[in-house]
Symmetry: D2
Subunit: 293 residues, 4 copies
């Protein structure tokens, strides 16, 4: 592989993703706000860029994986940022999870400089990132998407091209909305089983064998029946995604009573103090009864 790829952001996700690129023979120049985090990558063959601008200057295209929208914006717009070097012939691929607003802002700024832009949020967290098993939801410049396919191929098990910028974020919202409603339905089932004198563990076993068996029930069920919710995807973020999905539906007058009801239960869980625990902690709001009973 002769193409030099830039990589901005070496958090849990970014580190795993850039390591996969290196392992598969890509030449990678990395940057991280805390530069010390770059060292392990250098051991695996990475070069270091001093600033986002320096990385973009050196590389044909640059991938970013930042922790939140404000980090995603500052890497582009601040001094020594991506905008200073992006130009015709260069591409920028933001794989961070940001809203449509942030994505549009970055997209427009890159386009004004003549560069190409792709938003490419992922589905999957630490383990799939390490295993190169992410699902990549890309949207923006088709040409850039095609150039990125080899890189996507080692970071994920599958990538989708979804059309115009914003569609990646929207697809994530739709998926997370279905997931949030399902989690509520699952929790109601567990509570109904328990209150009806049925074993929750048996319910999990029965579900596992049937038409609605899915990895989420299998993974979260055993901890939920122990009232334990180690945070993988925080409840407050799940509730935010429900809210944004409902807002997306509002724009187009789509009535979604199940998602709306689920959103209110997530809000109840937030009000009960579970916002920072895993989104499966909605279970506490579903079963909540008199503390004395």
């Amino acid at each position: 592989m002769e193409i030099e790829i830039g990589f901005l952001g070496l958090g849990i996700m970014g580190k795993a993703m850039s390591l996969n690129l290196l392992r598969h023979g890509f030449k990678v120049t990395v940057w991280n706000r805390t530069l010390s985090k770059c060292e392990e990558l250098v051991e695996h063959g990475a070069s270091i860029g001093e600033t986002p601008a320096a990385v973009v200057k050196k590389c044909k295209y640059t991938i970013a994986m930042l922790s939140n929208p404000s980090a995603a914006l500052s890497v582009v717009f601040e001094k020594d940022g991506v905008l200073e070097q992006i130009c015709e012939g260069k591409g920028y691929i933001d794989m961070s999870t940001v809203g449509a607003d942030t994505s549009s802002k970055i997209s427009e700024a890159i386009a004004e400089k003549g560069g190409q832009f792709l938003e490419a949020p992922v589905s999957g967290s630490k383990k799939p990132a390490e295993d190169g098993q992410l699902v990549i939801l890309a949207a923006g410049e088709k040409v850039l998407y095609e150039k990125a396919i080899p890189a996507f191929g080692v970071m994920g098990k599958k990538s989708f091209y979804l059309g115009q910028v914003g569609n990646g974020a929207k697809m994530k919202l739709v998926v997370n909305m279905v997931m949030g409603s399902m989690m509520n339905a699952f929790s109601e089932g567990l509570v109904l089983a328990d209150s009806s004198g049925l074993s929750q563990q048996t319910l999990l076993d029965v579900l596992e064998l049937g038409a609605i068996a899915n990895p989420m029930f299998k993974m979260k069920g055993p901890t939920m029946i122990k009232n334990s919710y180690p945070p993988a995807f925080p409840l407050k973020h799940q509730q935010k995604d429900m809210r944004l999905a409902l807002a997306l539906g509002d724009e187009n007058a789509v009535s979604m009573p199940i998602a709306a009801a689920a959103n209110e239960v997530f809000k109840k869980a937030r009000s009960l103090g579970f916002g920072d625990q895993d989104f499966s902690a909605v279970h506490e709001a579903v079963k909540a009864t008199n503390p004395s009973t």
Copy 2:
């Protein structure tokens, strides 16, 4: 195998289940209201009983797989029915899907005669029945359950013993309630995707790769996006199960807002004329908009 098993009811399900018993070496005596249906089974080695009573007289234990509660009741209580011959040392296993009321009525009558009773509704339809891949939800006499394990082993991939009579029916309600809510959540996701300019097929592909991938989405999704709902599990039956699950929750003051919201959408679908189509036809109620748009 020296034990003689009786089998009452040779509809789609019963025929497939009794064939599996015969194929695995069980001696089976069959009965069906329309006796001609017994012939194929005789070709596979079955004996014929003239009446339910005759079958019970001949066999240590007898399995029933009838199409509805009234058939389940008449086979037991009518002239030449099960009650006339059931006695101490004999067992009766009803695998039909009936409510807790019907099950209790049969259970009490059998017990009065000194017989043993097991309710054992199944999860799974024609194909799993043929493949011996049913999931069996048994409840009632533990001793009879243990005797039935070899037979359950060839009809199903897994059987559960759930305690007292009624628990089999309840477990089915819990599972179907979760399933009904999930179907609504899935449908809302499809409608939101479509109205937001995303491809529904791509949504199916993305879901298939993620944490909430499940056989139901995979099986029903492709037909739903074509507005086609070939009846596997009729919507009116799904709605009835939602109603019964909510009633079960009501007894124990369990609040289930998602199931309640889903139930109302199923009712809307019924009012739109989709009661006899597959329960995935709830999709029509979710997306329903002005016919002219």
Copy 3:
């Protein structure tokens, strides 16, 4: 007035209603299970009947106001009950609040004896009963309704004839369903006001002046904002009426998402231990947050 009216049941409601009949010149023969309760009525000019049968024997038509369905049934069907003397030319008017089932059972038994029957549940409790301000929802024999109009005229401010037996009960369910949903909406408004830094008392004042001002908000609001719910109409009865109204809708495939959502909140309130308090105690389920906040 020369017509003799029988009156069975002298609880809080029945006593007030029969007193109004006496005050307006009706001749009334009363009976109560605890006969001592008849004394005050005798002071106001009533005669006493020893048994329900004796009352019916003496009077052209007899009114009953019993506390619950089982009392309503035993007064008719037990020894010395209404059925022993009811016959052609006599009428029986049950003003108790009972379900359609109970009502039909009584109706059929009376009709078999040649008697006339009217169900006539009332809207309004102690105070309206004392003031002759009840609203009477009558259904059954039209001829009997017309005969009863003078008596209804002094017990209530308005009576309605609703057609066949069962319609009185149904009308009460519809009204109570709307009331239950409104109570939830009101409670959500109070909680939203409070959490947004607005005075709940001011909200009550603003509501009182606007298009949705109603006696219930005015009466219940001031106690609700003090977390006080002195039982006028117990929450468990309100929830039962929501459930029955939803079941009525289910029969006709009427989708009622608001009532369904409200029903689930009432169930939550029951699970929190508020079943015996006033139905306005649903407020506790609406605002329920972490005990520590």
Copy 4:
């Protein structure tokens, strides 16, 4: 009365309100974008200001009643606008219905110039405006509120001082949210009555006599049962207020399942094409069944 009051905006509402001021002896200087609309007011004794700035220059305090947020903003910020003349000792009272954002923007700009600001949206439409029967929800400078009391006294039947800027808008949202949920509950009651064989007109009569009787049911019921929804408050605006109220609740983790369910039905009504009709047209979404049935 010696105080000169400015009045900006002579639409249906503003004209009625300024007329009431004139009739009660206030000296009023009016301005309207289309100046010809000022003539009728002049006949009743008003002076004319050439521009908003001219009005503010002349008057101690100025009231505005504009049709929407953008009109409210331009009257303040554009050339010859309020900001050019507002200063210490002068007050500005915006009675238009605008969001908290717009209100804050105006409030800050006025404060920067040393002026005083009050937001004072009203509850009530044309008729109450003409009759001086509005309900005024004021928030902002307490001192200015006290000065405005005499003017509020002739325009409304009651004014409330609600604290900091934004609280007027919030109170309106809370009230409208309760109203929207109630309208849904009412519609469900009408549909349930009809489908159960009860007369909808009788239901209206029964409701009118009971604890939940309110002007809205009385006013909207008769047209709703005729499927007629002459626009008084457009459905799309009601749905927007539901959305904003839910968003307000989201900020503080207030769970409001009834409002959320009602919002989804309003969205369904929008998708059915009823956005521009009266908000009572939600009735069409509640009853919507197969066109052929």
